[in-house]
Symmetry: D2
Subunit: 388 residues, 4 copies
């Protein structure tokens, strides 16, 4: 009998993790972007790669787009292309950080004309959402300043509110605005949405359809992220996750790679707060594959989330609550760690096979020859990258 009870299996069967189209393009640091053979050259090829992840894992049924990187003439065609490959189009991400006009801000800019342009860009994104059937408009703002005195922090915050209000008003009834926060980078003195508190205050001022996006790499050193998960769920404002991992700053490594135990704690708190497989709380990846292969990097990532979810589901919550109530620190910790240290991989492999999936998706993909195929096929053209 599996260590994964039927109830656990039922939860696992519901899990869905959205992939970012840009994870399949080249990415790197300010020092160098390394190219790899077979890198997609357009949104169609990115979606084809994303579909491979879903094919071997059944975990990644949707793909998020980034505008303008994934702008196409015919979104309906793109949608059909995705569906033909077994996936759907998901969240639409806006981009206000790669236009020269946005050097000193977009939604917060001193100049109303620049703000207009940035707001209109979000209107375009909402139009695309209608075409693609996407629910969420995700906004990450690169805005901020590099030097004390450079910017009027307060004025920018007020303008941010006004700009968001205009965008929010344009949302359809079933659409949401999800506002991401980030500690720093690319701005190095102040960032206009640097922490969950700011994101929360801004979306609370907008209304029910505005939520916070928590990117696991966007916090100050030492931040207890699962506490924020708990708090945002408690406040009813956790809209989505951008999963990745980091040792230092926003390293954008494979989720679970840097601190598996932190991922376990985060997923447990999602579960504890009713956020697991709750459509209001979207799970997404947001990573860079700078030195590793991209498609297997994404497969590894969704499997890491799945494995940690299985471990979190194994926590004996009744026993844990009893130990917590009695102040038995070591016993409560033991119960918690017991689930973390349980090796769920063999049971998950079996379970996958029982559902007609490969026991080892990484190996199955490697054996498929897909990487060699695209390396051969995708010669010529311009490789997509972060920013193209």
């Amino acid at each position: 009998m599996s260590i994964l009870s039927e109830a656990v299996q039922a939860e696992l069967a519901k899990q869905a993790i959205e992939l970012p189209s840009w994870a399949f393009g080249n990415s790197g640091t300010r020092f160098k972007v390394f190219a790899t053979p077979g890198t997609p050259r357009d949104p169609y090829e990115k979606i084809a790669d994303a579909a491979q992840v879903h094919r071997y894992t059944a975990l990644a049924p949707t793909v998020a787009l980034h505008i303008p990187w994934d702008r196409v003439d015919d979104y309906d065609a793109l949608k059909r292309h995705a569906e033909g490959l077994g996936v759907e189009l998901g969240t639409i991400n806006s981009n206000t950080f790669q236009d020269d006009d946005y050097k000193f801000g977009a939604l917060t800019h001193e100049d109303a004309a620049v703000r207009r342009k940035a707001i209109d860009h979000h209107f375009e994104c909402i139009d695309i959402m209608h075409a693609t059937g996407s629910r969420d408009l995700k906004i990450w703002l690169a805005e901020g300043s590099n030097y004390p005195g450079q910017a009027d922090l307060r004025g920018r915050q007020d303008r941010l509110h006004e700009s968001l209000q205009e965008i929010y008003a344009r949302l359809g009834d079933d659409q949401r605005l999800v506002l991401e926060y980030k500690f720093f980078e690319p701005a190095f003195y102040h960032t206009d949405v640097p922490d969950w508190g700011t994101s929360y205050a801004q979306v609370a001022a907008l209304g029910e359809k505005a939520m916070v996006c928590l990117d696991t790499g966007h916090h100050a050193p030492g931040t207890n992220i699962e506490f924020i998960v708990m708090q945002l769920l408690r406040l009813g404002k956790l809209g989505s996750f951008d999963f990745n991992s980091r040792f230092y700053a926003d390293d954008d490594l494979i989720v679970g790679a840097a601190d598996p135990f932190q991922l376990f704690r985060i997923v447990f708190e999602v579960l504890r707060g009713g956020g697991l497989n709750n459509p209001d709380v979207a799970f997404m990846l947001d990573q860079c594959h700078n030195v590793e292969d991209k498609i297997p990097g994404q497969i590894r990532s969704v499997l890491n989330v799945q494995e940690m979810t299985a471990r979190a589901l194994l926590v004996d919550r009744e026993a844990l609550a009893a130990a917590q109530r009695s102040g038995d620190v070591l016993e409560a910790n033991r119960i918690f760690m017991d689930a973390f240290y349980t090796d769920v991989r063999p049971a998950l492999a079996e379970w996958r096979e029982s559902r007609g999936l490969p026991a080892d998706p990484m190996a199955a993909f490697a054996e498929s020859g897909y990487l060699a195929q695209i390396a051969a096929d995708r010669v010529g053209g311009v490789q997509a990258g972060w920013g193209a």
Copy 2:
């Protein structure tokens, strides 16, 4: 003519910084508390020492008390004692971290009886506030856990809300509850009020008389504190400051000692947001004098705040706004730095003399012989310390 205009002088004349009674007792680290001759042995002596700071600076007209450390039989007598020395009693600080019952929490404890005790302690504090005429009840909670799994983060947050609601309901019409947040310590895994967002969410749920207290040493490494100042002022929820400084964690050093430029930026943002000499935004010190003399340590601290306030008032805000509008990064930064680099000390010395104060309060206090006097007088008895 002074570099301090009449308008600047008028602002400076209004400045008031509350002193913490516990700054005059011994303090230290978990490794050692060093004793010093002349350390106060009771609240009366602490207030006498605090009055010295005000005498030489005219900057510190009130003294905050800490209950139970400053519990006395007759608060009216203590009040008259203070007034006789030229100062008044200020904020009342509760303490739920030095009783064995609070090992696993106070306002958040799993056990209703412990929560009751902790809430009742706050009722006592409110009673004392009525006796002393204090406006603010300041709550810093040491609550949290050391090990993952030890505590139910969500349950504790909900219980915190309920406990605070009871305390809030007991406040008089002109009284306020001010909730402090802290990144970590004494809890080493999770803290129940770890960041401004949590404090804000909790006080917003209480009502208008509940505000956030910002302690400048209670943030994650790299946090942009002036941004939080801006945001809390914008949200109308910045109730008070605990000033101190730090290089690493909650070092509780003399304000301005570790990063004077940060103090400048904070005070500027207070000014920008309308919080300077605004009765709704209380300025307080919260420091430990582990290796330096305590009374001169406090004098140095209030002078540091005064000097930075003078510099912040010197910023040419019109020119700054123009440079910001035009995207002239270097010019905006120059205008900002120009005020910071201006040496306001000679002008402040002159201005002090014009008001009948010593030009150099540190020297005047040193010459007064007060330290030698209390060293001689205060022999025997038990020295007050952090925790007594």
Copy 3:
């Protein structure tokens, strides 16, 4: 057949982790030290408690002493007491942070008389080492300053060298001096031995019998500790470990509690560099049990080290080296993680039983009734604490 090969079992059988006598006394933060029933009142009782850890795990055959906390009249009697309980006396730790004379330094003090006193204290420690048969003199220095300008950084470093030279010269042929470094605390501006580089430079200047002690909690946020392990082993200067864990600063939590994967990486690097079960590289614990029971806290700790050692020994190093050579990032990481995710606990339980030990040492100790016994027996007297 066990997943632990005979070679792995042979390594595990050799493992020895020294316990600190002070872990059995009360400890806490600057805010509060909570007392617990049954806390030892003298070195004899501390050793009795330490012997319990060894009894149930066979992992902790020695106990480190701290002078003056563990000063006794007759070290030979203490030695026999330990041996009677199945353990031996280990490292001697000096203490230069709890005497008023050391407020501004000990081995680095400006005043030669204070340095003399501190050096003489180390001579006393060496004398005790001769009495106890201890090999290592471990020096952790709390020295530093709180304010820029307070201290002459360079002069102190030079005096540190001179003081250490005198102490080093006094060592017996088979004795070693082990110098610990620490990022900060109790000093909050500068610490005289803040990093491995300083400790290394200082011990390298002394000679072959001087080594570095690496405390896993004594680094800046984000520091890659296993890299330092690698480097010190490479330089032949890793003398010992102080194991514990932390989320923030020097939290001194149970080893492996905060970041199990980091512990795995550290132990793997020890193994990779030839430091495992190498007498030159001593494994010790240095933790505080502030809220959890102390004896089971130590049992949990040595088991955590053992479990991680087993996992590190499971890494397929040949396959790993091949993947590294071929630049296969994901495969190398997979091989590494595979060992980490393997649940070694059932195999270790079996192996323990095969050696006449309890399968579950935590449960066996709990059932022994020892805690109730000492709570009943050790009434009256003064409980030992950090600093007594």
Copy 4:
């Protein structure tokens, strides 16, 4: 009479700060590089821009080159070009991070052929040094890994030693090798030279002509950089500085912009240790001007260093030493801060004029019309950037 004594003026007159050629090209983050009119298109134009900084400040007599970015056919011509503009060529910087072959390392690579290529690149740099008359070969290595297990930390360190030995052996008698360390980025798990200890251990193993380069932005959060300055000067191994500033990671902001007091402490420690205007300790800038104008950004930077040097020279070191000896914490800190808070800018303006320089170099450059001139002249061609 100036507050700057003749002795201070004599020191200031000797100050020289090397400029990096790459500071005049475009730079940015991984998200976006903003272009600016007039950006140099080749090494000749970069040097012309650097000469402007020297012209208005007399502080920047040399320009560092980066190979291959500044590769030219005729280094003698470049040298004469520089001399014609009043400056000289300085340090040669190697680059092993922008070639696809170096994806998994250069001097540390598993493959001997890649190491050969990287070593040969350094031989080329040494050849260029002979042509340009440069003394220093500065090596910053981007090498490391992103995932635990990806790399053999120890093997890489050993190979690093071997590679450096080959390069070192090739140095001319009057040439030096300067090895920079960096906490993280572009590698996100381990970096092969992450800290001063590693750089020190590596250069100490090479010989007298190998030194450490300290980049002020390359440390873990909270690191006391002036302590490292002190230690490296004490060990005789501080070869050069890369000055810049940061709030978070390696932000590469204008030196002194983020924490002016830290810059003051660093310069003071240089002075205290005999490193000021000592030819063995080279002062250089290494910054990115992402949002501000580049030439005035460099002028601002060298002026910041000059102003802090003046302040550091104003410290009353005799009085400071006396206060330190007597344990008078507040007085020692006061003496130290007094120099920091002194406004040296008017005296420096006067002194500049007395030497035939503009009182306000920033204003003088702005009035010169140079920026408009190059914007008009440098149309067409490819703008130089970080990486070109």
